[in-house]
């Protein structure tokens, strides 16, 4: 039993099941992200934990207490919204102290806690400003301080960085993670940004169409995706069709070129066609060393992404992408050039049979 437990949680609107049999156990102090595309049910699940939505079935408990039927103001959860949701008529300090004032804490205690929170979010001078006088990043910091000022048992964040520009997003996500670790607060974070989820979380819950596709550490989810959806949604993948030459040995043929896949050994039947996938960073340009797969192909496209150059190589029906670091001394090969690429036998992922 975890600190936050969701058991068989479902949410149905009319005939439409938005969340289907969601089971999850979150440990005390853990940072868990719900990751998935729009409409996958991640925000609805978060809102059910917060109490803004009532589950159609299942139970939600926090620290052993069943909170399924409790109103949001009885759950002791802090919530941070995408739109900040600061109270426009209150100053920064009044916003942060709102929850404490509602709880009728003594004035001195509220003032001390507000000052402490302003220090934590590194805005000690801005207590008397109004929300409209702050930048988006500052507003979200205040929203975070407001949510944690009341010392909630669980902190819920609903795409808190989506409305911010890229640079602030990166710095703020590091701040949120550091703060979460400092306070040891159990946190559930909703995002559709895989980089955010992978970089911040202890565990990631990948969701699709109201279902949990995979729960695992960022390393597990990225390197060993459980389903085709996870493989395609998390990171960039080149998916190719392969004929299984020898299932027990993991020998496959892609567009007439034979490769070995350790992960396919014993998991595929000889003679069947299976989808396999490769991450761009697993593929190298040029003749590979001993013990690695090699394939010959033609460069179809070269995309310059700054520090990285993404090259697409075609083998016939199949194609894969590979990333190389940008080097001013050696420009990338031209389109149409014949090249050899290499990748490790462990790198080829075998996707589930469709």
């Amino acid at each position: 039993m975890g600190f936050v437990d969701l058991e068989g949680v479902r949410k149905v609107y009319g005939q439409n099941a938005v969340v289907r049999n969601f089971d999850l156990s979150i440990a005390r102090g853990e940072f868990v992200s719900f990751l998935g595309p729009s409409g996958c049910g991640k925000t609805t699940t978060l809102r059910m934990i917060a109490g803004f939505e009532t589950p159609s079935a299942g139970t939600i408990s926090i620290d052993g207490r069943d909170v399924t039927g409790l109103r949001p103001n009885q759950r002791n959860v802090g919530m941070v919204f995408q739109s900040y949701a600061l109270f426009p008529n209150l100053t920064v300090a009044e916003n942060i102290g709102f929850g404490l004032k509602v709880a009728r804490r003594p004035k001195g205690e509220i003032a001390a806690r507000v000052a402490e929170m302003l220090g934590v979010i590194k805005l000690p001078q801005l207590g008397e400003r109004y929300p409209y006088q702050l930048s988006g990043g500052q507003q979200q910091r205040v929203a975070l301080a407001r949510a944690i000022a009341v010392k909630p048992q669980v902190l819920l964040l609903d795409e808190p960085l989506s409305a911010l520009d890229a640079k602030i997003r990166v710095s703020l996500r590091a701040e949120i993670r550091a703060l979460q670790q400092d306070l040891g607060i159990t946190t559930v974070y909703v995002t559709h940004d895989q980089e955010e989820a992978l970089s911040m979380s202890d565990r990631v819950v990948v969701m699709s169409d109201g279902r949990v596709e995979q729960v695992g550490t960022p390393f597990e989810v990225y390197n060993d995706p459980a389903t085709r959806f996870v493989a395609s949604f998390v990171g960039t993948l080149s998916v190719m069709e392969a004929l299984v030459v020898d299932g027990s040995a993991g020998r496959l043929r892609i567009d007439g070129q034979e490769v070995a896949a350790t992960r396919a050994a014993g998991r595929a039947r000889s003679g069947e066609t299976r989808s396999v996938a490769l991450r761009p960073e697993a593929v190298t340009l040029g003749a590979p060393g001993e013990g690695r797969n090699r394939m010959r192909g033609t460069i179809e496209d070269v995309a310059f992404l700054g520090s990285v150059v993404r090259i697409r190589v075609r083998f016939g029906e199949s194609a894969l992408s590979l990333d190389t670091f940008n080097s001013p001394g050696s420009p990338p090969p031209a389109k149409g050039a014949e090249v050899t690429v290499g990748f490790g036998r462990d790198d080829l992922l075998l996707l589930e049979a469709s």
Binding site: A50, F52, R75, G78, F81, P88, F98, Y130, Y132, V150
Partner: protein, 259 residues
């Protein structure tokens, strides 16, 4: 430097002529009571007439009561529709628009039929009860303006998310209404209130058919019995309306909200 554009200026001048000339003519006519020279005699006559002050005070009192009842009715309704029952919004919007479609005379005859002295709820049997009925009638009449003003205010502050934020901080419904929603829709409420005031202060049909000593029937009486005073009264009515509009602008300059 870009050249000054002539088109907008022509449009502005034409609009100014369209609106200002009749008003200026009315004002000029109101000053002609004394033969051969301009004077404020018509205005003086009006201010000396006790019915002017009485009817104006009566209508002001009714307008304030209408605003209070309107806010008590519309604020929780608009809030509930926006936060709890958004599916009912089309129905409620349709209902709040009905007073614009149904003529006031039809509404007041409906009231008279329903609440006459021999009905189950005889609201017209005494002056006080009829005053209450008039207030309710005006609440209905001002509903499209009040509801729209409040609903726009709710939308501007994203009442749903603010409510959820306050709830997650432990606040109950009363705290949310008093400390979060009300202060943030203050400008919208005042806007609705001033529009209501402007409507009620000059309303004729309902007050006349319910036989109440309001400012609208008084203006009509003066219009049919005096020469220069109606023009003076029209100018005063304009001044009151403009004062209301000015107050909306003044209050609207308050604090900005978050984006």
């Amino acid at each position: 430097m870009s050249k000054p554009r002539l088109g907008p200026w022509i449009a502005l001048v034409l609009a100014a002529i369209y609106f200002i000339v009749p008003l200026a003519a009315t004002f000029e006519f109101s000053l002609r009571k004394r033969k051969g020279e301009y004077s404020f005699d018509a205005y003086r006559w009006l201010f000396d007439d006790p019915r002017f002050i009485e009817s104006f005070l009566y209508s002001t009192t009714v307008a304030i009561a209408t605003i209070v009842v309107g806010i008590l009715l519309v604020l929780p309704t608009a809030y509930t529709i926006r936060v709890r029952l958004p599916r009912l919004r089309p129905l409620v919007e349709f209902m709040t628009l009905l007073p614009l479609v149904i003529p006031a005379i039809v509404i007041v005859f409906g009231y008279l039929r329903l609440y006459n002295s021999s009905s189950w709820l005889p609201m017209t049997s005494s002056a006080r009860a009829t005053d209450v009925l008039l207030v309710f009638a005006y609440v209905t009449l001002a509903m499209p303006y009040m509801y729209r003003a409040v609903d726009t205010g709710m939308r501007a502050i994203d009442a749903q998310t603010l409510t959820e934020a306050a709830q997650s901080l432990g606040a109950g419904w009363l705290t949310i209404m008093v400390r979060v929603i009300l202060p943030n829709v203050r400008v919208a409420l005042l806007s609705g209130a001033f529009l209501t005031f402007a409507i009620v202060i000059g309303e004729f049909t309902m007050a006349s058919l319910l036989d109440r000593p309001a400012f609208g029937p008084y203006m009509n009486y003066i219009g049919t019995n005096r020469a220069y005073e109606p023009s003076a009264l029209a100018v005063i009515a304009f001044a009151v309306t403009w004062a209301c509009m000015g107050l909306i602008q003044l209050v609207g300059r308050g604090r900005k909200t978050t984006a």
